[in-house]
Amino acid sequence: MNTSADALGAEADGFFDMLEERRRSSDLSYAFRSFNPLPYRGATDISASTLNRMVLESQYLSYVIQEIMLESDEPREMLLEEASALLDEMSQNLQLGFIRLLGYAMNKVFKSVFSSIHVNEDGLTRLQQAIQEYPVILLPNHRSYMDFLVLSYIMFTYDLSIPVIAAGIPLMGMKLIGEIFRRSGAFFIRRAIGSDKLYWAVLSEYVRTIVRTGYAPLEFYIEGLRSRTLKSLTPKLGMLHMVLEPFFKGEVFDISLVPISISYERVLEESLLAHELLGVPKPKETTGALLKARTVLKENYGCMHVFFGNPVSVRDLVKGKINHRQYNLVPRDLPMKPSKEMQEFVSGLAHTIIRLQERNVVLSAWNLMAVVLLQNLQGIDLDLLTQKTLWLRRLAQRFGAHLRWPENVSDSEVMSSSVSLHHSVVRCEGGRVYLVEEEGPGPVTQEEGVFKQAAAVLMCASYRNQAVHVFTRPAMVAVAMTTAASHRTDDIFHNFTFLLELFSNEFVVIPGQAVQDFEEGCSLLQESGVIGRSDEEIYVKDNGQETIIFLRAILQPFIESYQVVFRYLCEESSQTLSEKMFSTNIRSFIMKLLISGEVQSYECLSSDLHKNVLSALLRMDAVTKTKVDDQNEFSVNKPAVKKIWDMLSHGWTPQISVDARL
């Protein structure tokens, strides 16, 4: 990067606002700027069509086609034709001209919706270096449709090779836009691939060929899809396996994984997301819908942060963990199931990447306000909110949060500007701050009332979720201390590991690192003066009680939601139930409890939580899944669920668990 910090207007902590320079120059001259990225030095210069041909002619594909021929009696030519059609549907057709077009449009849009886009300069410099050395994989978190557009926009602006991007097939369906995306480097992946062997083969060979040839940096969402809750999702491993294979087989010397943390002060899709979580289906991605969404673009979405993390060398990480010689005795093109050690490595790596994304993600005052607000749904005095937020700011910083607090602005101004930016979520009336309920047609049923309140809470919760990773480990220690039978470290650790296991679909934890997670949680609490530790015991310090209670309250909605689902499964549901039935029944069950006041947290209505509870139970063998007529069916082992429920509730909020048993 030949742009010095000054020229970029870098701020004290190494960020600069990339829109500032854009606002000073014309959109057209920006779109037609000279674009001279420094390429990967090992790249073989090939066209998009050559890339496709290499895939079709690959030995790997021919092996797979041979296998399919044996299974299905389809002739080779047919299968090849099919593969070719799949490739046509899938493949990108990156063209600089379209990047310029997109750049032009994005320039206009971004300047109007965002007040600033802050990028860390050293991250860009490191990325530029990395791109030249080894194939680079860009791994952003996924919070908005804007994510990949913003990234390509940044890459174009700072002369970095334009990436090719794995995108969901619905995007392709949009007329014109789909084609523009394709030419801007997007390639399209079907959502449910299932056991379509040929599709897997074409896709994986396509991805591998991109990496092997160093065609372009490859970008994909390791979370698999957009997080509806703005909380990190547990990673999907398929794509990462494909991407890493050329390294394991020695076809490239190394691969650099670049975790990228994108955070929006205000997410464009905020209300859409909350409604999706409540079961209102997501509008189909069509060009028409996109055009309608233009009204969204008239709003102000504050600032955005993009943090390019340190490139992670796969070679460095893999040292001593994988024996490459497993590939020495068979042709490398032969389709091979990844070994157990390989699966473990890739899973650990994927989780690590997400932790890195979390560690780097830039948080704002608003995220902390949301944490406080969710504990005060009845409204809170602005002064108290300010006071609590500032207290939380100090705590979060001790916990290592990557907070950016506006400089040279008074705290009250920070608060009030956050409140006004988020007018869709909160309002301030008479010095008190309330959650905003969506306006709607006059008289409403009780259910509609709950629904509206839940939507408001979920919107607010999504902003807490952006910051929740900062608190999860200490909060779990706090909960574990409360539920533990004694102060003994062993007991607390026992409870902690249970929580970690139960919530591992909720919060991203690296598998097999419970001890490290526990240590992390404890030492953060200890360093903040909340707890003390002796050889065998952990105890709350006198002035630490407040923090412990606060941290527990952060997890409370999750715990309550899990308890409610457990209750439903134990007491209401039949032994077996279909996926569809589950999601509608559980919703009406919780709705009833919310109306009756038996359950307090509106977050219990989130379909994401329901899914996660099921996954946790599946993982813990309390529920088993079978496929009946293409429908997932669950059979519930009630005693096992009950046991988990008891574990979670033991000594914890007795009124609910007692009620529940009545």
């Binding site: 090992g42 020695g250 076809e251 010397f253 490459h324 010689r325 590939y327 020495n328 490398r332």
Partner: protein
């Protein structure tokens, strides 16, 4: 590109010319008694090709002949001294720039070697007196002169030569003994068993696997058994085209003497000036022209080896037999751990009528490898075909001697222009394959056309005989060049592997990259020279040869860093599906990977053979197992 057999003759002369007749020298501390071989001498050669006191014609702390070395003269130009080689006496004008540019070296920064051996640094011999008495009584030639002992205490690994240059002498053999024939060896081995001394066979001394190093833990008296005086061709069988040869003969003598009778073995490893027949057998050597003549295992018909259990050999000279596992394969590659190879019956061939060098320039290494793969697929490889990468191509160019005529330099310029400008080859990517064809003239020309046609399909351009010949010359002078580098803070070495065809490119790239990355991580100030070439083609794969060197200024323990990097490079080779060694052997340097390479059971098999053959561990050089 017209040529005749003169170039072939010339090349043979180069190698043959390495040797000049020397008067018989009486320098052994005990005079040898003439050995009465059963067979008559095949030629009444008057010269002893390799003298007992090798240090009188060869360097004690570097490669090759004392009279031949590279140096930078007062004008800063490189030249090669002596009269033995084609380069001898010539100025190499571009070597300095290449050297300084590649390594960041500077002629002002010298790191000269200790000029002469400090005898007081050599520990006094730990003699087994009764054994020595018995040897003398048996009339064998024996020495415990420090120079003789130091000369046989090492091969040519970097750390070995580096230590010598610094005047550091480790454990050396206590006694050197020179048998003159098979019976002498039987006597020595018998006495060694009787007196429990450690025997280390010593042939040409060109090992690059620490195979000649005296094991540190050895407490017995160590005896170096120098086979150099067992150097006769005992008979030539023209009906079956075989020759029976004593195993101490060195490559160039064997070839020269056979040539005089109109024959050759065709076995030409790069070390053939100095390496011995017995050494080839003991390490599974490979020759440059194996495509026509085969590797050593294809060439031997019969081997006689003296072991502590007695002599092992087959009972007939049948060309192939099904009599259980081939006992030759216990001997081939045994690296001196089981006994001493004394006599070998080898296949011989008539000297080829016609020989022709050639070369092909490719736009990049990938294309070059693809071409070699196709040549192998069509099974039409010439006697030798080697592909150098770009760095090595440039290295080769740096060794071009000063051209005498303006016309030649004009032609060179024109060639360069044609390739880089007209054909659009990037000078930083192009690479060159060197070729050697052999056979009868018509067939050679036909063969040549076939190979060039294949090359053309991969974008290859014929680039003349000169480039080809220079490529082969490089292999003979590279070891001399290392000594020059060491005078200026540059250390380096070569290593090799074999690998399936589809992994050649990946292995080359990854190993080169690993070397660069490891050097950087270990604080080497300048990027290293990390280069490779594909030197042999097989049906199912290829042999790849790496050169690796770096400037060690600013490093406190350069040899250690060198060894760490080489170790990492070997790990990389193995991780990429390459073998532990194609022809250098395992020695002590690569022992740690033996089990992983041949499986625990495989290693156990080898160990049980060792236990049976040599229960006292008389052949205690500690190699391989």
């Amino acid at each position: 590109m017209a040529s005749n057999s003169s170039s072939a003759q010339q090349r043979l002369r180069i190698i043959a010319g390495h040797l000049q007749k020397r008067p018989e020298e009486e320098n052994a501390s005990v005079a040898a008694q003439e050995c009465k071989a059963e067979a008559p001498r095949s030629e009444p050669s008057s010269a002893t090709p390799v003298p007992r006191r090798r240090q009188e014609i060869m360097k004690w702390n570097g490669w090759g002949y004392s009279d031949s070395r590279f140096l930078f003269n007062k004008k800063g130009q490189a030249e090669f001294t002596g009269k033995r080689y084609r380069l001898s006496g010539l100025i190499l004008p571009s070597l300095k720039d290449w050297f300084e540019g590649t390594f960041g070296a500077n002629l002002q920064h010298r790191s000269p070697a200790t000029p002469s051996l400090n005898l007081s640094a050599v520990a006094p011999p730990h003699l087994n007196q009764p054994f020595v008495e018995d040897l003398k009584a048996a009339g064998l030639s024996v020495s415990h002169d420090p120079e003789d002992r130091v000369f046989r205490a090492h091969g040519h690994c970097l750390h070995e030569v580096f230590a010598l240059r610094e005047g550091r002498i480790g454990r050396v053999p206590d006694v050197v003994v020179w048998p003159s024939c098979h019976n002498d060896v039987e006597k020595i081995v018998e006495l060694a068993c009787k007196h429990n001394v450690c025997l280390i066979p010593y042939g040409g001394g060109t090992s690059v696997s620490s195979a000649l190093e005296c094991p540190r833990e050895e407490t017995r008296s160590i005896v170096s058994l120098d086979t150099s005086q067992m150097n006769r061709i005992l008979w030539i069988d023209e009906k079956n085209l075989t020759a029976h040869v004593e195993a101490g003969i060195i490559g160039q003598d064997l070839e020269r003497q056979l040539n005089e009778r109109g024959y050759c073995t065709g076995h030409e490893p790069d070390s053939m000036e100095f390496s011995s027949l017995g050494g080839w057998v003991a390490t599974r050597a490979s020759g440059m022209k194996k495509n026509i003549y085969g590797n050593i295992e294809d060439l031997v018909v019969h081997i006689k080896m003296v072991t502590p259990r007695g002599v092992i050999e087959k009972s007939c000279l049948g060309p192939r037999m099904s009599t259980g596992p081939d006992i030759h394969h216990f001997i081939l590659g045994s690296e001196g751990t089981l006994g001493v190879v004394t006599e070998v019956t080898l296949k011989i061939r008539p000297v080829p009528e016609y020989q022709k060098y050639g070369s092909v320039v490719f736009p990049n290494f990938q294309q070059g490898v693809a071409c070699l793969r196709e040549v192998a697929r069509q099974r039409c490889a010439p006697a030798s075909i080697r592909l150098m990468d770009n760095e090595q191509f440039q290295f080769g160019h740096a060794l071009k001697p000063q051209v005498s005529s303006i016309f030649t330099s004009f032609l060179d310029g024109l060639k360069k222009f044609y390739i880089t400008k007209f054909k659009g080859f990037d000078p930083h990517h192009l690479c060159v394959a060197t070729l050697l064809f052999e056979g009868d003239r018509g067939k050679v020309l036909q063969h040549e056309k076939q190979v060039y046609d294949i090359a053309a399909k991969f974008g290859g351009l014929a680039a003349g005989e000169d480039n080809g010949q220079r490529g082969y010359m490089l292999t003979f002078v590279i070891a001399y060049l290392r000594d020059l580098g060491m005078d200026y803070y540059v250390i380096g070495e070569s290593f090799e592997t074999s690998v399936p065809w589809d992994r050649v490119l990946d292995l080359c790239r990854n190993v080169k990259e690993r070397i660069v990355r490891e050097c950087k991580e270990r604080g080497v100030q300048f990027p290293p020279l990390s280069t490779c070439r594909v030197t042999q083609t097989y049906d199912a794969g290829a042999c790849v040869y790496f050169y690796f060197a770096f400037n060690y200024r600013g490093l406190s323990d350069p040899v250690h860093i060198y060894e760490q990097v080489e170790h990492a490079a070997r790990e990389e080779i193995l991780a990429n599906g390459g073998s532990l060694s194609h022809h250098h052997g395992v020695g002590k340097l690569r022992k740690e990977w033996m089990k992983a390479s041949v499986s625990g059971v495989g290693l156990g098999m080898l160990k049980s053979v060792k236990e049976y053959v040599d229960p006292q561990n008389i052949f205690g050089n500690g190699n391989l197992l």
